[in-house]
Symmetry: C2
Subunit: 471 residues, 2 copies
């Protein structure tokens, strides 16, 4: 793709998904989205990220909203803007690997209900975990965006990412997203990576960079100068910290340059003012852990992971040894072949590191998740794992280096049968598939007319130390 | 200056002056500064901005601290770091033009008490208002930093700024600061301006850019790439919004590049953690008006000025006409020859604009400040004023195009006499000089042992709409 000539930068705003997922524990309700949709729709965004990630879970678990109905409402309220979702590959929006038929149906229903752009990723960058979803997106005639989960390690070289991008394009990716969930990207490293990717593949490069360490806007500028023309930003009211660079600032930054987005700052400011008011309603969900923090640039450990571990150590009355755990994390990560630290690998690595410290002997006790990981249950680690640790963990059991989902038989029929007439639609079956207990409970409550959204706690409770998920 | 080769960027941290001036109404007390000074001193900053601006006023008015003693304490606690202050040229730290002998004594005493670097500016960029202060700094053997107040107007061309920089160097400036108090600078405009300045003068270029519109870190990066090697940042706990880019983020941004600052992120993080706790103590002084706001990029009017005007219009029960006032501001500014909008010109322009709207007829009523401005009382406007408006304002009175201070006779002797034995030192006389009523009251209270710092209001009062001053 010849992007030597500067040209207009396209903006995807993430306020309706990643913005509130990053800053407000994914709690924004549909009722607070719809009133501003007409204005959002008129901006001319490349896309609005509105669905997927943790929103599906939060809808069913906390808000007692039907996530599919949210999507339908947003589709109707945003007729002129492509809608985008984040999909965890073979995990979809749940917490296990699904059979291919579930992935295919989930993607098809998402497309039918209004998703135009599917950003598909796998925590280990094991592309076999993306394959079925990507094919399903293409079969739906929608835009399939292949994702590189960005991390830093001795094996995660620029060449490795370029190779991954090429394979994603071979899989049919219409574009490539660099997903920096932890805020690890630095501006000059970003520029070099983007330059290499732009040269290597013909499809557009998108940059999704969390502002955790305060570097994301700088990284986006260097990305744009290197040929990236698609950046993810969030309206200022939900920008910064563990969220994203602010939409208004990035639009202003490129105004009157060849990169000019052409978006109207006055209209964006009105949207920002609207969301500033909305944010106040959810003050109880604010957290000190969402603010800008350079730690990830020092220790390469995501902020959310560090705060979760601190909570765990506190519960064990072992907060005094938290630094030992932080020191142990890179070692465990190396033993496991340098997985990117994102759900679920951040939990897998973090819990084992804590255990290695608390038991006083490394790998004296090994979690089931580490065992499953070393058996190949999550897919292929980025590089060779520590053979000694693997022996300790799995003994003589043999490693399965196939695609995890290859062992899962088609399950839609079984799921339909299990949920029975609590499901009014295939969408309901898929909700049940994502969360067997929670989903059933939700559908039962809907039938019984007993669904009640969690109350929004009073604002006094704010500023606490709630754990944070990466988006 | 040949800065074609990338080289280390130097950092001036402003947390002890502009950081809390921008975010906490200048309320941080010396007792909250001293405990962290050893760590600040060990970082290796190019300088720490610790004095001047509004801190002198806040010490005397609210904190009942002797500003000179604060400086002495900081000097002692920061033996290894150059200390920097912001000086309003012939206005020093007060609100009128002073006689040259006061300026000379003020600078000499500031130098003796510990200031190494004097950043000297004039709101109108009338360099005659800088001359005496710059000479006095040189006479003290200290670093004289000449300042360009950045603004945007048809007459403020790059050539005009280059010309100003050259004249500052001719006046003996050891370095040039670009001072963007409103957050007007955009990254690519910054790059072009810095490039021109670096080419035109031999002395280092410093960039002081407020993050109001979310662009300052981007502007600093483009400045650095264009040859600027000195940027002002603020430790993350007091960064962003109407303050400055975060120190940690800018250090991380340049790490492992030829611009590497060499500063230690772990040590900076400890300082950030300290100040995050300090900030909580002053929660009552937080304001919604200090957050990131793109407005200044739309209307070229500083955020603080807009919020002050909104308050004024509210008091007049005329908030409904605030948009008319915002529309009037650029017209009044043009009539007055495009002054940069900073204290006191922001008030002069804003109040007249409000009056033009409220009276229903432009310049039906004209403020005394506008009259004084048009008589030349503040110095020379950047360009020709509207002759018709001037005639209305001053009638047949003749414009004085000399240096305002030329009409002020030496006044140290008179000041010493007036304050008498309430002053124990020349520093006390200068405190009295800055604030005739307030200074006397302070010195009297000190003698009587009745000084009491304002109480810090309970945090519940926070989030309000207090007016904001530019730094
Ligand atoms: Co994200
Ligand atoms: Co300032």
């Amino acid at each position: 793709m010849n992007q030597a000539e500067p040209s207009s930068v396209k903006i995807s705003d993430v306020v309706l998904r990643d913005g509130h997922q990053s800053l407000l524990a994914t709690r924004m309700r549909t009722e607070d989205m719809l009133p501003i949709c007409a204005k959002l729709d008129a901006i001319g965004f490349h896309s609005l990220e509105v669905w997927g990630g943790a929103t599906f879970d939060a809808c069913v678990r906390f808000l007692k909203e039907d996530p599919w109905e949210r999507l339908q409402s947003l589709r109707e309220a945003l007729p002129d803007t492509p809608l985008q979702m984040l999909l965890r590959g073979q995990n979809l929006l749940g917490y296990r690997h699904y059979a291919d038929d579930v992935v295919e149906r989930f993607v098809a229903r998402s497309a039918d209900n209004g998703i135009d752009i599917f950003r598909v990723f796998d925590a280990l960058n094991d592309l076999r975990n993306l394959e079925t979803a990507m094919k399903a997106v293409k079969a739906s005639g929608k835009h399939a965006q292949g994702t590189i989960c960005y991390t830093v390690s001795p094996v995660h070289t620029r060449e490795m990412y370029v190779e991954q991008a090429k394979r994603l394009v071979d899989m049919g990716a219409d574009s490539i997203a660099i997903k920096d969930m932890a805020g690890l990207l630095t501006p000059y490293a970003t520029g070099e990576l983007v330059e290499a990717l732009v040269e290597a593949v013909e499809v557009p490069i998108h940059l999704h960079a969390h502002a955790t360490s305060g570097l994301a806007s700088l990284s986006q500028m260097k990305a744009v100068e290197a040929g990236c023309r698609h950046i993810d930003t969030c309206i200022s009211a939900f920008a910064g910290g563990t969220s994203h660079p602010s939409t208004e600032a990035m639009v202003a930054a490129f105004q009157d340059t060849p990169y000019d987005t052409g978006l109207d700052l006055v209209a964006l400011k009105e949207i920002g003012d609207y969301f500033r008011e909305v944010r106040k309603k959810y003050a109880a969900f604010e957290s000190e852990y969402t603010r800008e923090d350079v730690s990830v640039q020092i220790w390469q450990v995501p902020g959310g992971m560090m705060s979760n571990l601190a909570n765990q150590m506190k519960e064990q009355n072992a907060l005094g040894r938290i630094q030992d755990v932080f020191d142990e994390i890179p070692k465990v990560r190396a033993d496991l072949g340098y997985p990117p630290l994102v759900t679920p690998t951040s939990q897998i690595v973090g819990t084992q590191a804590a255990m290695n410290v608390l038991t006083g002997e490394r790998y004296k006790s090994i979690t089931n998740e580490v065992k499953r990981y070393l058996l190949g249950g999550y897919g292929q680690p980025p590089t060779e794992v520590n053979a000694e640790v693997r022996r300790k963990a799995i003994g003589n059991e043999s490693v399965d280096d196939g695609r995890p989902a290859d062992h899962i038989k088609p399950e839609m029929a079984r799921l339909e049968q299990e949920i029975g007439d609590l499901a009014n639609s295939e969408e309901d079956v898929l909700t049940f598939a994502m969360f067997p207990d929670l989903g059933r409970e939700y559908l039962q409550g809907r039938r019984d007319g007993t669904l009640v959204a969690e109350p929004i706690p009073a604002a006094e409770a704010s500023g606490g130390g709630r754990p944070v998920s990466e988006g």
